[in-house]
Structure formats: C-alpha cells, structure tokens
C-alpha cells in the first residue's frame, strides 16, 4: 500500500491544509494539524504493508527502508513541533517542518538520483528558513551560511548526477545497477557523494555544521540532528548499497578514511566547546562519521547499523538539546555548560533525561548509543576494517569527555543555576526520548530484528 | 547567399524599427495634439515630419553628463541594455507570409527558433535590467525609486502576460510564432476565442512598456522622470528609443498571437496587413495615454496580481479543459 507513496501523500495533503490555515494566521491550529499529519504519515509508513515495487518508473522505491526513514523523520518533526520552532513563532513554522519531513521521506523512498535531488532540496529549503527564523543576527548568519554551503553541495550533487546521466542515460538506481564500472560514472558518483556527505557533515564537508547548529534556534537544531542525517543516510544507502553498482564498492576505502577523520575531528573539537549547541554541532560531525562507518562496510549489517545508530544518535541529540534549550531560558542566548549547573538537584527529572541523552551520545552501555556503536563495530569488523573499528573506539573515548563536561555541571552542588520548569511540549519530548533511548539500549531485540528485515529486503532486489 | 539574405533582412528590420520609432513618436505627438485640441509639432518640415530628425540631432549634440556619485560602467551600460532588449525581440516576429523570390522561399523574419515566443519573452525581460540598473547607477533617490518601481511593475505584469499567452499556446499547439499565425489561418484568429487573454495581454503589454496609465516609473510629477532623471544627451534618448520600440514590439506580438499576424484579405500584401494592425494598436496606446490618468502604485500592483493574474489563470484552465477534452 505504501507502494502508492501514501506517507508522502498524507504529508503533502497535510502540508496544504497547514499552509492555508497558517495563511489565515491560526498558528496554533496549524501546529496541531501538522502534528496530526505527521502522525498519520508515520502510521501509513509503518502500518500499511509495504508495496515494495518501484513506483513512477523507478523514481520511487517505497520499501521498508523508506518506512524506517519515514518513522525517524516524523519523530524529528514531532519533536520540532513540540519544542516550538522559532523564537518569533511565525505561524508558518509547522508548515516548514512538515516540508522538511516530506523531503526526508522522499529521500527515504528515492529510487533515482533525480528523486534524491528533489528530496534533498525539499529537506534543505525549509531548513534554511527555519534556521534563520529567530531573526536574530546569529540566526540569520547561520541561515545564510547554511544556504551558501548547501547550495554548493547541491551543485556538486547535481553536476555529478548530470555526469552520470550523460554516461548512462538514466537517473534510476535500477539502471545504475545494471551498468559496468566506467570512469565518468565514477567521477559523477564522487561528486554525488560530495553533495550527500555534506548533508551528513563529513570532514571535509563539515564546515557548516557547528556554525549552523549553534546559530539555529534550538528546536531546529534538534530537528536537523535527526532529520537531515536520516535523509542523507537513506540516500547514501540507496546509492551505495541498493544498486550494486560495481564501482560503488571502490568507494568504501575512501569512505572509511573520511569516517575515521570525521569521528576523530568531530569528537576532538566537541571537547573544547562551551556552547552546548555548538558541541552538538561537532558531535554531529562525529555522528556523520559513525554513520559512514556503516556505509563503508558496504553490507546489510552496515546499513542496519547505520540506521540503528542514527535513531539512537538522533534521540540522544534531541534530548540533549531540549534540556539545553530549556535551561538556557531565553531562546536567543546560546546554552552553555554553566546553565546546567546543579540541575540534578533543581530538576531531577530533566537531569535524568539529560544524563541518559549524554550517556547515549557518549556510547555508555544500556543506552541506545552504546548498542549503536556495537552494531557499527560489528559491521566494521565483519567488513575487515578493524582499523576503522579502533578509530570508532578512540573517537568514543574522546567524545566521552566532551559529554562528560556538561554532565559534570549537572551534578555540581556548589551553585545551582535557575532552570525554569519545562513546558508541556519539551517535557513530553524529554520523556519520549529518554524512554526510547533506554528502550533502544536495554531491549533492542525487536528493533534489530525489524531493521534486519528492512535492510535485507532491499539488498535482495 | 543565405548570409546575404540574412544581412539584408537585419538591415531592413533595424532601419524599419528606427524609422518607425521616430515616426511613432511624431505620430503620438501629433495625435496627442489632436486629442487635446492643439497642434503638436508642425513646424519642422511638412506637418512637422522632420521633427524627429531635429530631435535626434539635438540629442546627439547635447552634453553627456555623468553624475559624480554614479557607477560609471553601469550608468553607461543601462541604456545599452534597454535598447538592445527592445530591438532584440523583433528578430523572432514574422512580419509577413514567406516570400517567394527567384525560386527561394524566404521567411519574413530574421530568425525563427522553435519556441519563438519564449525567446521573445526572454529578451523582453532583459529590458528590466536597463531600467533598474539605470536607477541604481544614478545614485539619485528618484532614479532609484523609479528603477525599482519599474522592476516591480514589469515583473508583476509579466506574470499575467505569460499566463494570458497560455491559451494561445494550447490552441496553436506550438510556441513558434509562425506556427501560431498559421494555426490562426486554419482555425480563425484567436481573439474571438480568447477575448479575455487578449485584454490582459494588451493591458500588460502597456504596462511592460511603462506607458500611461502604467507609467509610474517615470511619473514626472513625483519622480522627476524616474530612472532617467540623471541622463542627458543620446543616452536619455535611448530610453525613449527603447520605450517606443517596445510599443511597436508588443503591438506586433499582440497582433501575432491574437489577430492573425500578417493574415488578411488578399487585396493587400501580408506585410501591409501586419503593419496596419500594428498601427491600430499604436493608436490605442496613444489614445490611452490621452484619456487615462496614472494609477496609484498599490492599485497597479493589485490589478496585476489580484485581478489580471487570477483571471487569466482561470481562463487558461478553461481553455485547457476545452482543448484537452476535444
């Protein structure tokens, strides 16, 4: 049934409604409608049986992978809605979030490079706006920076896509799979990877991430941490794994190097950050590297691992940023470590959620982040890349320190910062992310099983 | 041989445009005189027929001023762009049925690209740059405002213009201007099938050439000439060349799209029919200038976006339904 792109369709219809409602200035109603549309979309993605046949001449491949991505994107979207994007709270914000989620869903189901492009832009355009939505200088700067870099990245992607099309006369992965390796296609693939790795914030395409993460309103940062990565990961999985394009395997070693580089760079620089959003920005660089570990393995296991880690990372980042945002109080001020001082005594619940998120990001056992790393390590070791596995371990060790420093503040007893009570929305986000983080870390069996089926399915195409 | 034919056609077309610019201007002044119960230029030559020549010479020998703060390159570039865009469009408009000369079939147009209408729209859009850059480069408040206004106005009306042409494309099944005329030969002229788009097209055409009642960018009373306040000499004149050539061009386009181009009863040659029809529209231009007051800016924008655009959209949809379901 989702063979008919129902999740995407639902979202599109919802988007139309939200836009009109927002046009009338009823922001609150728009929010509710958007949430409803997101839930409906996720329900369609996860409950309706997968169509698992190419749609629109191979432009879309709605299968279980797309279901996973849909679910994650919706999660990010709901979090963003609940956190209330944008300090100015323009009524369009929910519509923008919805559009971005739609972009991620399109990426999840993309069956051709052209669809990937459309998805990429659908995801990026609203984000450019959302990032700048606070309309403070910082917001605007971040928005412009993101826009410029994003445009360049899309340019890389497009040119690569055009080269591939010029060589094989088609955009679809199904056709790409049938080709033998050719130099021009390789060049094209390289450019395509460049564009996609940018979205994952992989070194050397990472420059934007810390700035944008810091400069964006906190809810938007939280959204980006999960949704953009979900979309980019899905696209990379499709390009690398789905097609069996013989040349794709050649990229594995390079991707492995970039992964190691990103992990180490991201974690090392996360270590020295005071601003918590910037910290997450660097950790996003590292997380991109982790995701790339799974992709570099070029295996079912690697893709599963990437998806699992993505879910864990996204939840962790959302939880982390939510607490940071609430603690910072004023939306325009960047939340620093000091804002968390003594949180464990003032707001034990928030501290618990924050602790779980930070530990998950650091990869401490019994949180989702830990099993995500185990998953990735399995993929790397099974693919015969123990060096990469060691890089993952070393990166985790450095990253640990980065998350530890804010966590230390949470338990400091000398002086407690004033932290407001979280509003119902953020509180709900915190509860859900905490529970899911714990669930992923303690009882991952069903998820692993499900992911295994999802990944195996499209490899068998 | 082809090259020679092309050269001849280009020379003829440009000469025609320059001459007709001059005499359109003369005709306008004379007509305005009649409308306003006065004489208009009637001293230089018989009935003032040499007046344009005198004007041109005067302009040529005036001092060419460059405002102190102006951006010299852009300031000089702007009128060039205006004239270039105005002249450029006419290359794709067929002036008459293909002529047969010494066994050769010679189409009466300089160029006939497959999607000529798009080329015409594209080239005419370039004209905006001339006005905006002129306004910006002058470093004068009036000029800037005039330039910006003209940009806003022209692009707003261009949208409605584009939509109003959709119906014609559907009916003709081609964006080639020759084909469109030929289609009208088969199916009848389009103006009676597309009366509303015709009205919209002509109105927007008037606005595109910054003519009354849409001459806000120049608005002598408030903007002292608008974007060309700081210009003098031939550069000043060039904006007028552009404006009048534009009048001719959009009239030609209107005729081509809605009134069968060069088609007409056989007792006159096609080219003459074409020129006659253009003449009628130019008369309309002048008539409007003599009769109508200038619109306020907000009225103008409202008309473009909220009246003309939706109307032509709806009409285009109707046409689409008719064409697709026939």
């Amino acid at each position: 049934m989702s063979g008919w792109l129902i999740p995407e369709g639902v979202l599109l219809a919802g988007l139309a409604a939200v836009l009109l409602v927002a046009g009338g200035g009823w922001g609150r109603l728009a929010s509710w409608l958007a949430g409803l549309a997101l839930l409906a979309s996720a329900a369609a993605a996860l409950l309706l049986p997968g169509g698992e046949h190419p749609v629109l001449a191979g432009a879309f491949l709605p299968d279980r992978l797309s279901g996973v991505i849909d679910g994650l994107a919706v999660l990010a979207g709901l979090a963003a809605l609940l956190l209330g994007p944008g300090a100015g709270a323009v009524p369009e914000a929910p519509a923008l979030v919805l559009t971005a989620v739609l972009g991620a869903e399109v990426l999840g189901a993309a069956g051709s490079l052209l669809t990937v492009f459309v998805g990429l832009e659908l995801l990026s355009f609203p984000l450019y706006v959302l990032v700048a939505l606070g309309r403070s200088r910082t917001n605007l700067e971040a928005g412009v920076k993101y826009l410029l870099m994003g445009t360049v990245a899309s340019g890389l992607f497009l040119f690569g896509m055009a080269l591939i099309y010029r060589q094989i006369g088609s955009f679809t992965f199904l056709r790409l799979a049938g080709e033998s390796a050719q130099p021009w296609v390789e060049v094209g693939l390289g450019l395509v990877f460049g564009g996609l790795l940018f979205k994952l914030a992989i070194v050397p395409f990472h420059m934007w991430a810390p700035d944008v993460y810091e400069g964006a309103p906190t809810p938007v940062t939280a959204f980006m941490a999960l949704a953009t990565k979900a979309g980019a990961l899905a696209a990379l999985i499709r390009v690398l794994s789905f097609g069996f394009y013989p040349g794709a395997a050649l990229w594995s070693p390079l991707l492995a190097y970039l992964a190691a580089l990103s992990i180490l760079t991201g974690n090392l620089l996360a270590l020295v950050q005071r601003d918590l959003k910037r910290l997450v920005g660097w950790s996003a660089v590292a997380a991109g590297g982790y995701l790339l570990v799974g992709l570099a393995a070029h295996s079912v296991l690697g893709d599963e691992a990437g998806l699992y880690f993505l879910a864990a990372y996204g939840l962790g980042a959302i939880g982390f940023l939510t607490v940071a945002g609430v603690a910072a109080g004023e939306p325009d001020r960047g939340p620093t470590r000091q804002a968390l001082r003594g949180l464990a005594y003032r707001r034990p619940g928030m501290a618990l959620a924050f602790g779980l998120a930070a530990l998950s990001l650091a990869g401490i056992p019994f949180t989702g982040g830990f099993l995500g790393k185990v998953y990735l390590l399995q993929a790397a070791v099974a693919a015969g890349q123990p060096g990469l596995a060691v890089a993952v371990a070393l990166g985790a060790a450095v990253g640990l320190l980065a998350y530890l420093r804010p966590l230390e503040q949470v338990f400091r007893r000398d002086a407690a910062a004033v932290v407001p009570h979280p509003a119902p929305g953020p509180a709900l986000v915190l509860a859900v992310t905490a529970v899911l983080t714990l669930a992923l870390g303690v009882w991952p069996g069903p998820v692993v099983h499900w992911l295994g089926q999802a990944a195996r399915f499209y490899w068998l195409h | 041989m082809n090259g020679l034919i092309l050269a001849v056609k280009i020379v003829i077309l440009i000469l025609f445009l320059l001459i007709s610019f001059a005499y359109t201007m003369w005709a306008e002044r004379r007509l305005l005189g009649l409308f306003q119960l006065r004489w208009g230029p009637n001293r230089v030559g018989r009935a003032g027929l040499l007046q344009p020549l005198a004007d041109a010479l005067k302009m040529l020998f005036k001092e060419d001023l460059l405002p102190g703060q102006a951006d010299p390159v852009v300031f000089r570039l702007a009128p060039v762009i205006s004239v270039f865009a105005a002249l450029g469009v006419d290359a794709v408009i067929p002036f008459g049925a293909p002529a047969h000369l010494a066994g050769r079939t010679i189409p009466l147009d300089v160029a006939n690209p497959p999607a000529g209408l798009l080329v015409a729209f594209g080239l005419s859009s370039l004209g905006i740059y001339g006005l905006v850059l002129a306004g910006w480069a002058s470093q004068n408040k009036y000029s800037l405002l005039g330039g910006i206004r003209s940009a806003a106005q022209i692009i707003s009306y261009e949208l409605a213009m584009g939509v109003s042409a959709l119906g014609v494309l559907m009916l003709a099944g081609s964006a080639n201007l020759t084909r469109i005329v030929e289609a009208q030969a088969r199916h009848g002229w389009f103006w009676w099938k597309e009366p509303l788009p015709l009205a919209v097209f002509f109105l927007t055409a008037v606005a595109e050439s910054n003519r009354t009642p849409f001459d806000l960018p120049e608005a002598e009373s408030e903007l002292v000439g608008g974007y060309h306040t700081e210009y003098s000499g031939i550069r000043f004149a060039m904006f007028f060349i552009a404006e009048y050539v534009n009048m001719i061009t959009v009239s030609a386009l209107t005729v081509t799209l809605f009134f069968g181009g060069w088609l007409g009863p056989a007792f006159l040659p096609p080219v003459i029919w074409f020129l006659l029809k253009i003449g009628i529209f130019i008369f309309l231009f002048v008539w409007m200038r003599a009769t109508l007051p200038r619109l306020k800016y907000d009225r103008l924008m409202h008309l473009g976006w909220q009246v003309l655009l939706p109307l032509s959209f709806v009409w285009a949809l109707g046409t689409a339904a008719v064409v697709a379901l026939r």
Binding site: A142, G155, A162, Y165 | -
Partner: protein, 99 residues
C-alpha cells in the same frame, strides 16, 4: 555542438562557479557563483538528453531551474534580512559564528 563540447563548457562553468564560491567574500556573489554550478549541471543534463534522445534530462533541467528559483527566493530573503541587520555584506563579517 557535440555533447562532449557542451560538457566541457559546463565543466568550465562549474569550475568558475566553484572558484567563485571559494574566492569571493560577498554572500550575494558567492550565491550567484553557486547557482552557476547548478546551471552547469542543467546544461549537461540538456545536452545529455539530446545525446540519448530521451526527454528525462530536459525534464530534470527544468526541475533544476525550478529548484534554483525557489532557492534564490529563500536566499535573497535571507541575504536581504542579513543586509538590513548589518548594512554591509561581507563573508568576513559573518564571523559571529566562528567557523
């Protein structure tokens, strides 16, 4: 013109765009340079479409143009808003966020 020649031209355009982004400091100019990269891609798409005799490439080029238009809409809005904030356009001034 052959597809190869067009591709070469497009590659040059692409390189110019990329260089523009890397070298220039004015966001507006950088943005235009980046758009040039897009247009280079569109050019290749159209040429390849002719080469293969399939309309897919042209449709894609259309898509690219449409996306570019949307992007310009957003980009100009952001850049204008930034401009209003600081009355100067220079990437070096965008330094509030280190990076």
């Amino acid at each position: 013109m052959s597809t190869g020649a067009v591709t070469l031209v497009a590659a040059l355009l692409f390189a110019v765009g990329l260089a523009g982004v890397l070298v220039r400091r004015n966001p507006l100019v950088m943005f235009m340079a980046a758009e040039m990269m897009w247009n280079a891609a569109a050019l290749v798409l159209v040429a390849a479409s002719r080469h293969w005799g399939r309309e897919g490439g042209q449709a894609a080029a259309f898509l690219v143009i449409a996306a570019a238009a949307a992007e310009v809409g957003i980009g100009l809005a952001l850049i204008v808003a930034t401009y209003q904030h600081r009355h100067r356009l220079d990437a070096d001034v965008l330094k509030r966020l280190r990076g």
